[in-house]
C-alpha cells in the first residue's frame, strides 16, 4: 500500500493523506473521511488513519482530508460553513477525478463530519455510500415514551433527579440560562438535504452505515429509529443501523475504537462489490 500527501484547491491549499491499495483497478471505490468538528483529519484518536489503512487492505482507496479551517488547510474567509464545504468538495472531487478518474465515492464522517457528508451527498450523485457516526436523527413517535420509560426504570435517574432538584432550589436565583447545547453549534443538514441525500441513495441502490453512541441519546434511543423517522420508502433496505449507547462520542477507549474498526471493515468488505459496480 502506498500512502502519500493529497492536495486540492486553489494553489493546492488544501491538504490530506491518501492511501492506495497494492492492487487497484478502475473500479476501486474511494472512501473520503471528513473532519470531525474542529479536529484534524487523523482524529479522533487516530481513528481515520487506522480506518484508511484497514480499508485499503480490503481494496478501498482511502482519503482523509482537512476541509478549510481544519488541520493543515487554511480557512476560507467570507464563506459560511455550507458554502465552504461545498467549494472544498468541488476541488477535492476534481483532484480525485484527475488522479483516479470517475469512481464511486463513499463519505465517512463523525458528528459534524456526518452532517457535511449528508449535505455533500445530497448534491453529488457520485456518492454511493455514507458512513455516518452520530449523525443527527429525527425523533420518531415512540422516542419520548422510550426515553421516559428508561428514566422511570433507572434508579440512578431518581437519585440524580433528587440531587438536581436540591441543587436547583439552592441556586435558583443565579441559574445560568445562557448555557449552549453542543448540538446548537453544528451546521445540521436540513430536511431538504436529508430527503435529497437518502432519496438519491435509495434510487442508486447505495448503502448507509449509521452508528449512534451515547452522544445521540437526546435524539435517538432505539435501533431502527433513524430509518423509521425519515419515513422514506426503501431507506430501510439500504441503511444498516448500529446503536452503541455505552460508547462515548469520540471513541476515546481503544477497545471501542477497535470494535468500530471491525464493524466498519466488515460492512465495507460486505459491500465492496456493490461499490465497485458502476
Amino acid at each position: 500500500m502506498k500512502e502519500r500527501a493529497f492536495y486540492y484547491g486553489e494553489s493546492n491549499r488544501g491538504l490530506g493523506t491518501i492511501i492506495v491499495p497494492e492492487v487497484t483497478d478502475e473500479a476501486s471505490p474511494i472512501v473520503v473521511m471528513l473532519n470531525s468538528g474542529l479536529l484534524d483529519r487523523r482524529e479522533p484518536f487516530r481513528l481515520n488513519v487506522l480506518a484508511c489503512r484497514r480499508l485499503a487492505a480490503i481494496g478501498y482507496i482511502g482519503l482523509r482530508v482537512d476541509l478549510s479551517g481544519k488541520g493543515d488547510t487554511p480557512v476560507r474567509n467570507g464563506l459560511n460553513n455550507r458554502e465552504s464545504v461545498a467549494l472544498d468538495w468541488q476541488f477535492i472531487k476534481k483532484a480525485l477525478v484527475n488522479q483516479f478518474g470517475e469512481r464511486n465515492l463513499i463519505l465517512m464522517g463523525l458528528c459534524s463530519g456526518a452532517d457535511n457528508g449528508i449535505k455533500i451527498a445530497a448534491q453529488d450523485p457520485s456518492v454511493k455510500g455514507l458512513i455516518l457516526l452520530d449523525p443527527i436523527s429525527k425523533r420518531d413517535s415512540g422516542y419520548s415514551r422510550r426515553a421516559f420509560m428508561l428514566k422511570l426504570k433507572n434508579p440512578y435517574k431518581w437519585v440524580g433527579f433528587l440531587k438536581r432538584l436540591l441543587k436547583r432550589i439552592a441556586r435558583l436565583a443565579a441559574e445560568d440560562n445562557a448555557s449552549v447545547h453542543p448540538i446548537s453549534l453544528r451546521d445540521l443538514p436540513n430536511d431538504l438535504d436529508l430527503q435529497q441525500c437518502f432519496r438519491q441513495l435509495v434510487t442508486a441502490k447505495g448503502r448507509v452505515f449509521a452508528l449512534f453512541t451515547s452522544y445521540s441519546l437526546f435524539h435517538y434511543n432505539q435501533k431502527g429509529q433513524y430509518t423509521r423517522a425519515m419515513g422514506l420508502s426503501g431507506m430501510a433496505d439500504i441503511c444498516d443501523e448500529y446503536f452503541w449507547p455505552h460508547v462515548q462520542h469520540l471513541y476515546p477507549v481503544e477497545y471501542h475504537r477497535e470494535q468500530l474498526l471491525d464493524a466498519l471493515c466488515d460492512w465495507c468488505a460486505m459491500h465492496l462489490n456493490r461499490f465497485r459496480s458502476k
Partner: protein, 242 residues
C-alpha cells in the same frame, strides 16, 4: 504552502513549512505531544509553524512512529524509535531547508523527549509545558484514564446498564515503553533552554530568566482545542528571537 511527505523509508510523516526568507539558516523542528494532547494542540502548532515560516524560519513538523499520519501502531513503538525519529527529522529538515542551526520545540512529553536529543546542529530548545519526568507523566496518564472510566460509568448509569468490563485506556502502551518512559527526565541546559509554562506555580518556583508565563493557565487534563493567542505569541516570540 505546506509540503507534506513521508520520509525515513516512508515510515514517518512530516510537514515542512519553508521560510519566506529562502536564505534563512534557521530551522525549527517541532516535537509534538502525545495522545489526546496532540489532537488538542494540532491546529495551534500548524498556526505557529505558519507564523514562524512567514517571519523567516524554516519549520518541520513530524509525527513519531505509531502516531498521527506516520506508519505503525503505538504498540510497535518504543522511546528509542521515537528518539531516532526526532534525530532523523532533524537531518531531513536540514536537508530540505539548507539551514545550519536547529531549534527543537517540544510540547509536554515531546519536550521531555526533545531534551534528551543530542545533535551537533541544535542551538536552542523551547519547551511548552514540559513534563518534568516520565513518572509524573505516567501519573498524569493514569489520571486521564481514570477520568475516562468515570465518564463511562456515568454513561452506564444513564442507560441503566452495567459498566463494561474492559480496559478504560485511551491507548494501550507496551510495558517496555512504560518503563522507559518512567526512566526519562527533562534535561535542561539553562543557556540553551527556554520554557513557556501555563502553570503559574511552575513559573514562580523556577524564578529563572528562561521561563515565561503567558498570563493564562491551561489545564491539559480537560478542555477542548488549544488555540489561545497569548501562548502562541509567547512561543513565536521565543522561536523568532535572534
Amino acid at each position: 504552502m505546506i509540503e507534506a511527505f513521508f520520509f525515513n523509508n516512508d515510515q514517518l510523516y512530516g510537514c515542512y513549512h519553508p521560510s519566506a526568507d529562502m536564505g534563512s539558516t534557521r530551522l525549527v523542528v517541532i516535537c509534538p505531544p502525545f495522545f489526546e494532547e496532540y489532537q488538542r494542540c494540532y491546529k495551534a502548532l500548524v498556526d505557529l509553524s505558519n507564523t514562524c515560516a512567514e517571519e523567516g524560519v524554516h519549520v518541520l513538523r513530524f509525527d513519531y512512529f505509531g502516531t498521527g499520519d506516520s506508519q505503525g501502531l503505538l504498540q510497535q513503538a518504543s522511546l528509542d524509535t521515537w528518539k531516532d525519529g526526532v534525530f532523523t527529522a532533524i537531518e531531513e529538515g536540514l536537508d530540505l531547508s539548507g539551514a545550519s542551526e536547529v531549534m527543537l520545540l517540544g510540547v509536554r512529553f515531546g519536550a521531555t523527549l526533545a531534551s534528551n536529543i543530542n545533535h551537533r546542529r541544535i542551538k536552542r530548545y523551547v519547551f511548552w509545558d514540559p513534563v518534568e519526568n516520565g513518572v509524573a507523566y505516567q501519573k498524569w496518564l493514569e489520571k486521564v484514564n481514570h477520568r475516562l472510566k468515570r465518564r463511562h460509568r456515568q454513561i452506564a448509569r444513564q442507560i441503566n446498564q452495567p459498566l463494561e468490563k474492559i480496559a478504560y485506556e485511551y491507548f494501550r502502551l507496551p510495558a517496555a515503553m512504560r518503563s522507559d518512559m518512567a526512566a526519562m527526565t527533562l534535561i535542561e541546559n539553562a543557556a540553551q533552554t527556554f520554557v513557556i509554562t501555563t502553570d503559574k506555580s511552575i513559573y514562580h518556583s523556577r524564578r529563572h530568566a528562561n521561563c515565561d508565563y503567558p498570563g493564562l493557565t491551561y489545564n491539559w487534563l480537560e478542555g477542548g482545542l488549544i488555540s489561545q493567542k497569548p501562548i502562541l505569541e509567547a512561543l513565536a516570540r521565543r522561536v523568532l528571537e535572534p
